[in-house]
Amino acid sequence: MKHSKRLIVTGAIAAVSALALAGCSSSGSDDSTDSASGELTPVTLQLQWFAQAQFAGYYAALDQGYYEDEGLDVTILEGGADIVPQDVLSGGDADYAISWVPKVLGSIEQGAEITDVAQIFERSATTQISMKDKNITTAADLAGKKVGSWGYGNEWELFAGMQKAGVATDDISLVQQAFDMNGFLAGDIDAAQAMTYNEYAQVLESVNPATGELFTPDDLNVIDWNDEGTAMLQDAIWADSAKLADDDAYADQTVKFIKASIKGWIYAKDNPEEAAGIVTAAGSTLGESHQLWMTNEVNKLIWPSTSGGIGMIDEAAWKQTVDIAMGTKNETGATVISEEPPATAYSNDYVTKALDELKDEGVDVEGADFTPIEVTLKAGGE
């Protein structure tokens, strides 16, 4: 009896140690940029949210083969509420990430070494919308109202606008807004946070109980943070700073990635319907007319480019974003960052190279003649 018990225990310990040691072997991703003749380099892109036309350019570049033309085999990873794209990039699980500048500035201060290599969205799409009868047309009107915000780092433009207008967080009832407009439509939230390209359209796709028809823009008041002067830079392509400095292959790959992505965004500008279709086919749960609206609205944030070409990081806009990030307090009194970001936080070197190559090919990178299309929204966004 005692012998077999000892044997079993020894065997069990051996088995467990073997398993533990096997699990400890590092499964480091072997991203050798071995560009043997004709072989594509695998590249991973981490998006900020689920697949939707907010990222139309990248999906279009993938679908139209622009990444392949540059020798890149790109895998697009969808984001979500709990995914912090800059952490995925810093952790080495993605080569590039799409994220908003204020969120990443916070991460950089926490030690993440990443660089903004292309500021795709030039203008902010965050708004605070309310029903016409509430008469909320500027930030100052928010005092005494129920104001919704998603949190998760999306709230800084709102707080900056309120701070600028002299409205303290105690003057409003701040409500946690879910990622749908049900609370707003039910009247529980007076002024709700809405992206021009998404939640605003969700309201316009809902039926107004008073009229029996869909809501129209005339039913809503919109506070645009661009007009209020507290807009912050949003979607940008982020890359690993250390690799950019040390790894020439990665630096070249970054220029290629930006160039192909920009071509994808130009495709989305010229072919919004096709781009919307590509994104819907990529697995978005939102309807087609909603995706078309989103593509169109996102195009308005990019074109016409006033910074010298799509992706160029404008110094003044960057400074405004940094100033707001340092000076705006949220409801707990915290700011995004407490000191200026390092010089490696952004770089125009890579996007300039990409734009120069595109301009040599005769591509219009400023889109001065861009005109948005008319999109008719249908109930539920179908």
Binding site: V84, Q86, D87, S90, G91, P102, K103, L105, G106, S107, E109, Q110, G111, A112, K146, G148, S149, G151, Y152, G153, N154, E155, S173, L174, V175, Q176, Q177, A178, D180, N182, G183, A186, D188, I189, N330, E331, T332, G333, A334, V336
Partner: protein, 259 residues
């Protein structure tokens, strides 16, 4: 009766183990040069905690209040339901599948529905989510407690000629109290967790939940963990108060062993 002769054992040993674990954690972060956005060090968490104590305190009050209301509602409904189920066994059979289903409803699915029903700007939905999480263990444990009166005690009551109410008062209810407290102890921490998770889906901002995610969104995990520490302390406070209540109600009995 063995008094706190093993006081050093019961208090010192766990504290020592906790300190050792924290020290190892700090050592690991420093020695392996782990970046703060991967795993913050205990020292940085403590620093953030001490610099945001007032904010953690006010947030804990909000979450704690919701958890307390949920605990009270859930416990009262659970006890009443258990009593009804004992008195009318048929209700127990009818409700058993419902209770089983209710115990596995994910908060993620339930909270948005409750916010739409009761208002996305009210605390009600969070309190109901906590109440549901409390109801299940209290109901199940109280039911078990009410049923486990020993046959020999019941026979004794019959021999004394006690009325059913007297028998209940003398035997069934006191026998059920330890089980009730097992349920309450499980429920106390569940109430805090559920109230916190419920904060992600709506309601007024001010609780611990939003502070955690906002800090995490900027990769400020030291601050996020500081708020998590606040949530842990809140859960422990609830647990200890429930334990204290049990000692108060049945001082002559050792606290019932249970989770």
């Amino acid at each position: 009766m063995k008094q706190s002769a093993s006081l050093p054992r019961t208090i010192l040993a766990p504290v020592l183990l906790g300190v050792l674990a924290v020290a190892l954690w700090q050592l690991a972060v420093v020695a392996l040069e782990i970046k703060p956005f991967v795993l913050p060090s205990p020292v940085s968490i403590a620093t953030e905690f001490s610099s945001s104590v007032s904010s953690v305190w006010t947030s804990s009050l909000v979450t704690g209040a919701n958890a307390l209301i949920g605990l009270l509602i859930g416990a009262i409904v659970g006890i009443i339901a258990a009593i009804i189920a004992t008195v009318l066994p048929i209700t127990d059979e009818l409700s058993a599948p419902l209770v089983a289903a209710a115990s596995v409803i994910p908060i993620v699915a339930l909270a948005p529905v409750l916010y739409t029903m009761f208002g996305a700007d009210k605390e009600t939905a969070r309190q109901l989510v906590a109440a549901l999480a409390v109801f299940i263990p209290v109901y199940l444990n109280t039911l078990r407690g009410l049923r486990q009166a020993r046959p020999v005690h019941r026979d004794l009551m019959r021999a004394y000629g006690a009325s059913s109410w007297q028998a209940t008062r003398a035997v069934t209810l006191p026998g059920a109290v330890p089980f009730l407290f097992i349920g309450l102890r499980i429920a106390s921490s569940l109430a805090v967790i559920s109230a916190l998770i419920g904060e992600y889906f709506g309601g007024p901002i001010g609780g611990l939940g939003k502070s955690i995610t906002s800090a995490a969104a900027s990769s400020n995990y030291s601050l996020a963990y500081a708020y998590v520490l606040g949530a842990i302390i809140l859960g422990l406070v609830f647990y200890v108060v429930t334990l204290g209540l049990e000692k108060l109600v049945s001082p002559h009995r050792a606290p019932s062993t249970g989770p």
